[in-house]
């Protein structure tokens, strides 16, 4: 109850819906016969699971962009790093089932004539180690990057540009074969995860449920942060950064905290994404991916918690439908969407609804106050008449 009051009804409802989905969608695909109207075809499960990962990524971006005003154009990098950490684990699980049958080395290393595993691949045979790296690598990169950027008071467009440069630099690095991450082709041909065959319907249902739970946890974390005093401070930094400084706060640390937490969330989203799509390659670092995340959040409504989740689901559903029809035009549609939202729906879907709602309430309150006043006057005059 206390938790519910602290987090607000919106967070509670969203978490409940996600947990219900985590149970019902796997049930609908595994337990219901294909003839049932509620049956969900197996091929749809990883697709929706992918959307859920994107929603978590959009939520991560919302924490920094919506609440602290940091427009990161490099969040795809944290997502991809989390994905690579998971991919490395999945590669090591292939074992001798690869094309070259080498029990230790992934195929691409055998192909490059490498004799032993590079030092930075050690440990990735264990799930727990990979899981730690999923969190640690994006978190550490964000921390170091943020430490220097925020301390030097890089803000606004300049910050956006260097985040974009960061993801671009990583893109170039991961394209190189000698980096040891599979170069151009990335990591793929995964066989199993935690001993379960990765293509099996039950495994996919499990991954879907895990994605929903991760998103629910993300919603709880962002909800708790933004409702705390620190959350209010974040909004204060977003709206009047120098004011916070003159009352003794250090906005650079507020930003660093949000940026690091957000990068960790993005990394987790990437790690859940990779086993569901079956591949991770340097394309995930592409600058345009990071820009897409911004568009999801903008469409849904930044700084609303619910908005980016809805935005990510809607835009990606639209993308799936549209790329089925005319794939070459998708980027134009996406760009057009961004322009339209910026011009006509600057608060995004949820932000616009919220705003309309509170304006209505304000008007009602004003009307009631007016009525109350005239009643009060009436009371006084009738008293005077007595």
């Amino acid at each position: 109850m206390i938790l519910a009051r602290f987090l607000g009804p919106r967070v509670i409802v969203l978490v409940a819906v996600l947990l219900a989905a985590a149970v019902l969608v796997p049930a609908a695909t595994l337990a219901l016969p294909a003839s049932s109207p509620f049956h969900i075809p197996a091929y749809l499960v990883p697709l929706i699971g992918k959307y859920v990962c994107y929603a978590l990524l959009a939520l991560a971006l919302d924490l920094v962009w919506g609440y602290v005003g940091i427009l990161s154009l490099g969040h795809g990098a944290f997502f991809a790093l989390g994905g690579y950490a998971m991919g490395m684990y999945l590669m090591r699980q292939i074992g001798s089932r690869g094309v070259y049958g080498n029990p230790i080395l992934p195929d691409f290393m055998v192909f490059l004539n490498w004799k032993e595993l590079p030092w930075y691949w050690t440990g990735f045979g264990e799930f727990w180690f990979a899981a730690i790296m999923v969190v640690l690598v994006p978190g550490l990169l964000a921390f170091v990057f943020g430490f220097f950027a925020f301390r030097s008071r890089v803000t606004g467009v300049y910050l956006s540009i260097i985040t974009q440069a960061m993801t671009y630099a990583l893109l170039l690095a991961f394209f190189r074969n000698d980096m040891g991450f599979g170069g151009n082709n990335g990591l793929t041909d995964f066989k199993d995860i935690l001993g379960f065959p990765i293509q099996a319907e039950t495994t996919r249902a499990g991954l879907f449920a895990a994605s929903c739970v991760a998103l629910a946890l993300g919603v709880l974390v962002v909800g708790a942060i933004t409702r705390s005093k620190l959350g209010k401070l974040m909004v204060a930094v977003r709206d009047a950064e120098s004011r916070t400084r003159f009352i003794g706060w250090r906005p650079e640390y507020v930003k660093l905290f949000a940026f690091t937490v957000s990068a960790v969330m993005a990394g987790i989203a990437g790690a859940l994404y990779v086993p569901q799509v079956g591949i991770i390659n340097p394309g995930e670092f592409a600058p345009v991916n990071s820009i897409e995340i911004v568009i999801w959040a903008a469409v849904g409504g930044r700084g609303t918690l619910l908005g980016p989740v809805i935005g990510a689901l809607l835009v990606n559903y639209g993308k799936s439908v549209f790329t089925g029809l005319a794939p070459e035009y998708w980027l134009f549609v996406l760009g057009g969407l961004f322009v339209l939202v910026t011009l006509f729906l600057p608060r995004g879907i949820v932000g616009t609804i919220d705003h309309g709602w509170s304006a209505l309430r304000e008007r009602r309150r004003a009307a009631r106050a007016e009525k109350g006043e005239s009643m009060g006057e009436g009371g006084v005059s009738s008293q005077a008449a007595e």
Binding site: A236, T244, R250
Partner: protein, 287 residues
């Protein structure tokens, strides 16, 4: 006893025992005495500016400015546009670094070596010329964020509202006459109310020194008088520097006045003295 003590010879110097005769300790002590001697005149001051200079792209915004504020004093600063009043506040609060000169707080803290949050935490609060409040927060939350206390990010994350904080907020709301607006968003306040909220945020910090830049700009006459009353109230417990163009308001404050012109002090004294000064009349009042 007496003779023994003299024999054991812990030397006395100016009636004070030197606890350890170690040469390093003696050196430290000499250094401390030298430092205190150098402090000299500024030792008792709250704010001490001496020979401060600041040039922006060849333009001397602050020119050999010297100004001393006693502890507990309220001072009004007047002067034409561009005289350097705001720049002076920027220098005191660490926003702008002077090219040369001394800026000391409480006689010993060199403010030029610290940044804005550090200076704010030392006890110097500031109201901007353009009222700056957190527009998307309620009046109450604006004050809560300004309350003195820990400025650590993790403490803020785990912060719980306390009755003591609520009491302080109630008190400030009453002082600034914003009690019935406490749940309103700051963006919905009138210009004058925003000025008061910003002063309230200063009070919440409970600073030793308040720098208040043009608090009555855009206020009605009634509001201006209220503000003068509010500032006189505040000055009971705090030291204050008020920058203002409104001479009527400055007269209301009834404190020592400094007139700045082209980055240095043109005239200083009582309001009558300053407003009769022919140089002040020429550059400021007479226009």
């Amino acid at each position: 006893m007496m003779t023994m003590d003299q024999g054991a010879a812990p030397q006395t110097e100016g009636g004070e025992f030197v606890v350890s005769p170690h040469p390093y300790a003696t050196q430290l002590r000499t250094e401390r005495l030298a430092r205190e001697a150098a402090l000299g005149s500024r030792r008792e001051t709250l704010l001490y500016l001496n020979g401060v200079n600041k040039t922006f792209d060849g333009f001397k915004a602050i020119n050999n400015l010297s100004l001393v504020l006693e502890r507990g004093e309220m001072r009004a600063i007047i002067g034409p546009n561009g005289a350097g009043k705001t720049t002076m506040m920027d220098i005191i609060t660490g926003k702008t670094r002077p090219d040369a000169g001394e800026v000391y707080f409480r006689g010993e803290v060199d403010l030029t070596k610290h940044d804005e949050p550090a200076i704010a935490s030392m006890g110097i609060g500031r109201k901007f010329q353009k009222p700056t409040v957190f527009e998307s927060h309620t009046v109450e939350d604006n004050l809560a964020l300004s309350l003195s206390g820990s400025r650590s990010v993790l403490t803020a994350l785990l912060h719980k509202k306390s009755a003591a904080d609520a009491g302080k907020i109630d008190e400030i709301l009453a002082t600034t006459r914003l009690t019935d607006k406490r749940k309103r968003l700051a963006s919905g306040l009138s210009h004058g109310q925003k000025q008061w909220l910003e002063i309230g945020m200063l009070l919440a910090q409970d600073p030793e020194l308040l720098l208040v830049d043009e608090p009555v700009a855009g206020m009605t006459d009634a509001e201006t008088e209220e503000t003068a009353r509010l500032l006189r109230d505040i000055a009971q417990k705090h030291s204050v520097i008020v920058v203002e163009h409104d001479m009527h308001f400055v007269r209301e404050l009834g404190v020592k006045v400094t007139c700045l012109h082209e980055g240095s002090v043109l005239s200083e004294g009582s309001i009558d003295h300053v407003s009769r000064d022919p140089r002040v009349i020429e550059v400021y009042l007479g226009r």
